[in-house]
């Protein structure tokens, strides 16, 4: 094995080297591989092929071991005196003006805290639930119908009931729907918290209208394939309206939160809250952290 160079060795190597030792060429890996292949090929052809393979493999092993034990065979290669220039013609570096005091910065410089996403998601979930229940009341006279629809995405028995039971309370379906709705809303809220700072113009238009409509369109086009029974029971106007309601409310709540610096440039210890004075040099000083 070629040993890793220590720092001292690398210092020495910066001085003029005339020769370098490299592992010597060897035919034994080829012999061993050929023997190995013949060993197996003989199983399908003739025992004599396997015997030849075994002999070659043994010879390969012995030859290989003798080359590396007790000392690895190496060959000395003369160093070619060659001064390879490492230069560029692009001396002017264009910078995107992100902040006057910073030469470079990880973007985004500020973002919403995680709590903003959770708050937005929960607020959006309430808006969506209100619309969905209103739809249930108007269509079937019961708020439990849309709740059972939601539960049916993972719990098919929510749907395998009589029409009367479809509009009545069912504990398992209710618990499942609340969990699904809550988790889904919080995750989408977090996504909004992470992505809306990247959309400096009209974030509510994207989060409140475009994204929900695209999502509804995608579901509309594939739900008939994924779950035709469920697709038959969905009113797509109300579905889209409740998605838009979620998007607008979640987006507005997220946007109302105050942003915090991302601290992308800080070392992990500082971001983790560990007291480590002196780790961060002032910007532009050129000093490396010790």
């Amino acid at each position: 094995m070629a040993a890793p160079l220590s720092a001292e060795q690398s210092k020495q190597s910066t001085q003029a080297l005339h020769e370098i030792e490299l592992p010597a060429s060897s035919a034994w890996p080829l012999v061993l591989a050929f023997g190995f292949a013949l060993l197996f090929a003989g199983l399908l052809t003739s025992a004599s092929v396997s015997v030849l393979g075994a002999v070659l493999a043994l010879a390969g092993c012995v030859g290989w071991f003798r080359e590396v034990l007790p000392h690895e065979h190496e060959e000395v290669v003369p160093v070619v005196p060659d001064d390879v220039p490492v230069t560029t013609e692009r001396h002017v570096v264009e910078r995107i003006p992100v902040a006057e005091e910073l030469v470079r910065a990880w973007l985004p410089i500020k973002t919403y805290p995680v709590s903003a996403g959770i708050k937005g998601g929960l607020a959006g979930s309430v808006a969506m639930a209100v619309l969905a229940c209103a739809y249930g009341l108007l269509k079937t006279g019961s708020i439990w119908y849309p709740i059972k629809l939601l539960a049916a995405t993972v719990y098919a028995r929510s749907f395998h009931v009589s029409p009367a039971e479809l509009n009545s309370f069912h504990a398992v379906s209710f618990v499942l729907a609340v969990i699904l709705h809550g988790i889904g809303s919080i995750l989408v809220g977090l996504l909004y918290g992470a992505m809306l700072p990247m959309v400096p113009r009209h974030p509510i238009l994207l989060g409140g209208l475009i994204a929900p409509v695209l999502w509804s369109g995608l579901l509309y086009s594939i739900l008939g394939i994924l779950n035709p029974l469920l697709a038959k029971h969905i009113d797509w106007f109300w579905f889209t309206a409740s998605q838009v309601a979620f998007g607008i409310v979640a987006g507005m709540v997220v946007m109302r939160q105050s942003q915090v610096p991302t601290h992308e440039n800080l070392p992990f210890a500082l971001r983790a809250g560990i007291e480590a004075p002196g780790m961060v040099p002032p910007r532009g000083s050129g000093d490396k952290p010790s």
Binding site: A2, A33, A37, V84, T87
Partner: protein
Amino acid sequence: MSSDAMAIHAAEVGAGRPWVQTLHEWVTTVDHKRLGILYVLLALIFLIIGGIEAIVIRIQLMRPHNDFVSPQVFNRMFTMHGTTMIFFVIMPVMFGFANYLVPLMIGARDMAFPRLNAFGFWLTAFGGLLLYFSFVGGNGLYGAGNAPDVGWFAYAPLTSRAFSVGHSTDFWTIAVLVSGFGSIATAINIITTVLCLRCPGMTLSRMPLLAWMNLVMAALVILAVSPLTAAQIMLSIDRYLGGHFFDTQAGGSAALWMHFFWIFGHPEVYVLVIPAFAFASEIIPVFSRKPIFGYPAMVAATVCIGFISMAVWAHHMFTIGMNSMANTFFVLTTMIIAVPTGIKIFNWLGTMWGGRIQFKTAMLFCVGFLFQFLIAGLTGVMLGTAPFNWQLGNSYFVIAHFHYVIVGGIMFCLFGAFYYWFPKVTGRMLNETLGKLHFWLFFIGFHLTFDTMHIPGVLGMPRRIYTYEPGRGWDTWNLIIGIGAFIQGLAILIFVANLVFSYFRGSKAGNDPWDAWTLEWSVSSPPPSYNFASIPTVSSRRPLWDRKHPEDPDNRYE
């Protein structure tokens, strides 16, 4: 390069010496660069062979009731095409690039185990030879030739002796087994090299993404190839020693083979695609003139993909009738793996966003990869949804999706890598005009073939079908698919011509033709056998940026 240096270099590469001596040097080499080139050449030869097999398949399917080849030959063609392309084209070419580039990029003089490196290459080469020896030896040395015809994933009970007489299946088993040992040897070498031979200053957080991704790929090779090797041995025991592992009539399980194969097969997709990600991660920043966006996220996403890819295999098996818990689990893991993959796509786009993009051929291929891989990911999510899969499993939709990943994703990146690193390997530039012609022809051919291929799949055309009745709505689509395949073949010929032409007549490259930032561009092209006269010391992820811009080095900000 000075005249002295040129003279010594010429002597080094063997100019003016008997060809036998040059051949001997190449055959006995343990140099990582030469072995890398040998891997790539081996893969290119098999690419031509596998490509011809693909063309035969497409000619056969271009019109209904065609009999260009017999059903038996057709079965051999699709089996050999799949096996060749996966095991003897893409894996070796990725190992070749890893071999060539990893030591150079981490500032090492060679791989950690140079002889093991040679052993791994030769095992792969002999594995490929064994596979193709089946054409003459498939029924035994004295019988008629017969190549494997059980499909590239060789499901039981088709591989049992009752349904697969002769030795064709055994040649498949042994060839994959032998090359698998070679793959494991190379993977061990890559892992050890990356972990132990980095130059001073190159911490893991400063390592080029290509090295990171090859590290993850190598770990996956060890985890994924081992079950396949075990399964191949079990299959041989079934066939010759009276075992019943996969014999359903004697208490065995055909599904067991599927589990063994796909616990290899799906991570294998990531074994192939992660190095392609690595190429994109090196090429896109250089031609966008910006550092990679979200380096830590890229590393984390790669490691995540490595872990999750070991838990998605049974999404290839939704149609066998697993229970709902298993279906749900594998649907969820398949959805989850789309997240780190999506992060990568965002980061590549983020790298390009606001950059001074140069549409050199290498970059064109990477941009093509970005959009095509996105589509491949979307159809992957569709197929990862159990109910959708029940309807389109084993149809041409699956073939279209898979080739979107392998060709639209991996091959595009691979071509990009050829255009990007060819100057380093040979000292000469690939011709840009021919390169752009290659790109556009391949792009058009690819989309004609594989966009179109989704449609007969949706219309119910099963994979591996020998021929079909007219009037099912498949005829025109198959004709278009065939035409696209020919265009791709033409593009590949242009690529090969470009390689040959540019090797002899290409313009001189210099050591750093792309104004790049990683260490391989700090040495001459081609690099000397020892790589670095003095081992470099680095202090950031872009060591050459630091040397080119001492007034504003990266290490102030990392």
